[in-house]
Amino acid sequence: MRRTIRATALLGVAALALAACSSGSGTDTASSAAPTASASPTSTEPVTLTMSWWGDQEAPGAQKWLTAAITAYQAAHPNITIKETLQTTDGLIPNFEAAAAAKTPLDIQYFWGGIYAQQPGWNGNITPISDLLPADEIAHYTNAQMEDSYQGKVWVAPWYVNPSFPVLVNKDLLAKNGLTVPANWADFLKTCDTLSAKGITTIAGGVKDGWFGGWLYSILGAQSVSSQKQVLDAVVGNAKFTDPALADWWTRLQESQQHKCWNNDINSQELYQAQQLFVDGKAAMTVTAGPDAPNFATKAGGPSKIEVIAMPAWSDGPLAGKIASSSQTLGVVSWSQHKAEAAAFLMFLHSADQLQAWYDMTGSLPADDRFDLTQVTDPIKKALFSYGTDNVPYLENFIPAQLDSDAVFKNVQLVLKGTETGAQAAADMQAQMERLRTTDRNMVSNFTNWASSQ
């Protein structure tokens, strides 16, 4: 036994000694790609590009479109082969982090906008797209400046617009119960009272996987702020998440719980699972991803039965009653050996033919102002696309991802369960923010720089 303990102790000591002597790999800094900003494939040698993306779960038809786009691009550039791999929602960020740590062969990566593109940029894992594409090209990309720019650079190329997040209303179900589409928050709560008394769910949602908490933060929390700058100020410590403008939405969330607006199993349902209640006609309203909303509305009965609205307004703030606009993006990873070729492919995806093909195959809005909006006649799509080009910031994209999961996801679950008040949730969000300023030692400087870019 002593031998075992001695051996274990020796192993520990050896590990410590080696740790002390090891020079360490240090941090990876962003490889400084020469800013070519030309976006034409520079090589005639065979090149294989690897693209990792999220699939078509919020924009059905995206897979078909991408396959066709790759085929067309490879036909025009025979020396280039493009391979794609799919990621799940939960795996998207961790798998990219792992790939970045291991420098796994990868050229193009899918990112959600805002902080989800900023963070890998700050970590040196993205080559700014503005170093690779001409400025007059990037100027056409929707939300690139608002969400993805940092100190004069643009990290990633927006791909398609995600109006964030529309509320779908089943007008028929409301009418059958003597109700109309709620015009404001008070109407909404009355709708909840009426429907819950009849055993009908007013609005379907699932927070078990957390993501819907972030959506709620944005569609409720944005109503009392004037711009994303207020949120960035709270992140760096110049304001507090307990200030009324940043905290009152928690009380509204608590009200929705007290008025029994949600399905009673919201805490044990995942986001997409719960939305099915709306499609099945068991809930009068739900919140969906913008690009998927037209398909969702069709499944639930089409424009004659379904209406798209912004979350009912509880405030008269400038962002109340509006739907935010965010763009899902593609970026060129910093360790790619073929940055110019990867950027050229991203630019190809914004060509007129590809923008049109995207709309035809997915029914959602490409993130490019060169897309001809006049061809859109469907009332649901028209409403969504109008919101999508409004430049309203999507708040969840302007807070640290850690704060989103450690404070927003968590406290939304607790408030909707009724085990925490809105005031307690706001206090915890502030406490989590203070904690994160300690655990993430670069957060304040990164966010301060980002705020100055706004």
């Binding site: 036994m1 075992t4 303990i5 274990t8 192993l11 520990g12 050896a14 590990a15 410590l16 080696l18 740790a19 002390a20 090891s22 360490g24 790999s25 240090g26 941090t27 939960d90 960020i93 961790p94 982090e97 792992a98 740590a101 963070q119 970590n123 927070v207 078990k208 996987d209 957390g210 009673n264 199993d265 919201i266 805490n267 044990s268 349902q269 995942e270 991802a401 850690q402 999961s405 450690d406 996801f409 968590k410 406290n411 679950q413 607790l414 369960k417 085990t419 925490e420 904690r435 994160l436 300690t438 655990t439 993430d440 030692r441």
Partner: protein, 309 residues
Amino acid sequence: MTEVTTRTGRGNPPSAGRGRSQRGMWHAALWIGPAMVVMLFVFAYALVQLFTQSFKYQGEWTGWDNFRIVLTDPLFHTALAHNCELLLCVPVLIALALMLAIVLAETIKGHTWFRGVLFFPYILPVTVVGVVLGQLLTLNGAFNTALRDVGLNVLAQDWLGDPAIALWTMGGVIVWKEVGFGVVLFLARILSLPAETYEAASLDGAGFWRKHWSITLPQMTGVIAFYAVTEAIVMVSWVFNYVYIMTNGQGGPGDSTVVTELYIYRMAFADHSIELAAAAAVVLFALTLVLVVAFFRLQRKSLLAVVGE
């Protein structure tokens, strides 16, 4: 090795014995060597990296800073507390596995089938268990529906959605999955016990409880201790899969099911704080090491007991 030395000492000249012993050592080293190289590469390299990172921040040596941050982080305290609470499942596992093993040992008809049923959950992948039970245990899932159908509405709970009971639901799932291992271990030991002792006890008028309390239990302390330590290690550092799958990686609702492994994972891959994750992993490693040392101590004790018999 003890046996070889003893024989050498008895029958061979010292020099010839030393030569044979050395040859034996080289022979053993030759066989063990490749495995040792792999072990060193996999474990020693990883450990060195872990310790290195835990003392650095962005490549710079920062001493104990990372440990100070982790050890003062309220979320880390919560995670550790949850691991400690899960340790309470160990006595439940032992009692349940022991009871089932004894019942199985006494069962004459269909005991193979019952053994299969009890062991089945243990061989199921955690992912399968997590996904299936995650669905069954929703507020309006099959489990609660069944309870309501038989009039037990009061027992129908939001098993994974209520922060007050979510950790215990998780513990229940772990117990359900892990108990099969204990049953097989205990049953094997019970079946190896000499039947004569039981026959003698029966002749003396001992009943079911008396026989197992006074004969079975005292002879099973070694294997019970082994199982206890193994399961304690599971509860401290092997529950990530359950939590990750059943809560979609959130450790929710709220922080109610966050455990140390999930904290480390989130620090490394969600919060981009690889150095803090390394420091938390070193703390977890130290805690697990205590259990591993206890495990070796018990294993040696059991072996000595067997040799003694």
